[in-house]
Symmetry: C2
Subunit: 266 residues, 2 copies
């Protein structure tokens, strides 16, 4: 028995489906996401995601992709032209999978859990960078509110380097998020440039929710209390403000630092 | 007297020159840089840079560009097609200037100066993000060593949002940088994932140089001392390491925090 011939036609229905899935609407309609890249796919598998299909182009394989591909079971081979057609990357590594959209349950938080609440962040690069930092800082999970970047979109997956699969990323309504956090006694801190209190001066131990958004006026009023607004001091001669992903990393690691000073595990 | 007609020909020598200047080699040969965008140009002007020419396309102007353009003196108007040809951006704001490559002198550092040393960093987005954070954290200056991204290239200027003009960014040889730092009593700290000492545990006050690079083996041996290696603790389930720009921001702001705890101005 020989392996089936690779798909070469750009008109092949599977190729067309993969291209359509680059659109958020199509991902939402079908409940399916694209996972491109060996590193990202390895992390999704490690998190227990079961791909419904894997597409591979050996001519494009990175060493990491070449090592992973044989372990993946049923793989459909694509020609180089076909793979480049479906890839969202400039330098694809020749691996792309389809998987059901994750709907991770948020585990019950520990007493020192740090949760990140993203409100309407639009740039996939920022969302991905925040997920990566949140994972590195040991955050408990991510709540995604509002109509920002699709956390399971290809650009967020790439920018997060797969961290989106390593910690629970839950898409919620504002009301549900607020109820979830309130019921568990989280204190919510919003990062705003003009807050009088710096992020070093706030008690960031206990259950903490860090709120990051591009606009705050749409938030429930409970999240706008002045007690809970924090700023990051800026001495800059040029910059208006820190990038939101940088601000997130600083606040996340201040949570870690304060736990460490108090001898508490995150 | 009427204004000269806009340049519409894509074969115009000025258009061709602007396109050539997107290449680093051509910028280095001519000692000229491109500054695109109203925000970036405003910061360059504020830093005292004198553009040798400004190109404008009113049809593309953002409100910020429309406000800045009339203040700029002699401006050459380009048609929309011509401007889009010379722009390096997806959504140009209709302002682009040529200026001599800056060669800022490093001012003598204060007793609490923090200097960032970039060694061979290749991604313009990372270099730009580090410049932005360094500016926000009040760093004294940036030393750029090795053949990484051109700090005055269009993508670094954009990613830094013009911060590259707000603080001194000096391109140096390793030997000159080491001599400069040693003569002034800087302590150099390198960020490496496996260092036993965390960045919270090192005394980061006094004159501090933060070394960031993609590879350390090419550095002078004095910069590789284990005393001076710092790590950022990572609890991540997915991420291999923090992005270098995130690591830079964390270390820069730890310098600020320690100065603040000790009542010292940066």
């Amino acid at each position: 028995m020989t392996a089936p011939a690779p798909i070469t036609s750009l008109q092949n229905p599977q190729i067309k489906r993969l291209v359509r899935l680059r659109e958020r609407r199509e991902r939402e309609r079908s409940g399916t996401i694209l996972i491109e890249g060996a590193r990202e796919l390895a992390r999704a598998l490690h998190a227990g995601l079961a791909p419904e299909a894997v597409f591979s182009c050996p001519a494009l394989h990175s060493p990491e992709a070449a090592a992973l591909a044989p372990t993946l079971g049923l793989v459909t081979e694509l020609s180089r032209a076909a793979f480049e057609k479906v890839s969202a990357r400039e330098n694809p590594d020749g691996l792309l999978a389809l998987a059901p959209t994750p709907h991770p349950a948020l585990p019950e938080p520990g007493p020192q859990a740090v949760t990140v609440v993203l409100h309407g962040l639009e740039k996939p690069g920022n969302v991905g960078a925040i997920l990566r930092s949140a994972d590195a800082a040991g955050a408990h999970g991510i709540l995604v509110l509002g109509r920002g970047a699709d956390p399971y979109g290809p650009n967020v997956i790439r920018a997060s380097q797969g961290s989106v699969f390593a910690l629970p990323v839950a898409v919620m309504t504002e009301a549900d998020a607020l109820a979830w956090l309130s019921a568990r006694g989280f204190t919510t801190f919003a990062c705003t440039p003009d807050a009088p209190r710096t992020y070093w001066d706030a008690p960031l131990t206990g259950r903490v929710a860090l709120l990051l958004g591009t606009e705050h006026q749409g938030l429930p009023v409970e999240w706008r209390g002045a007690d809970h607004a924090l700023s990051i001091p800026m001495q800059g001669r040029g910059a208006d403000s820190l990038n939101v992903a940088t601000a997130a990393a600083l606040m996340l690691y201040e949570c870690v630092r304060q736990r460490r000073v108090q001898g508490k595990a995150i």
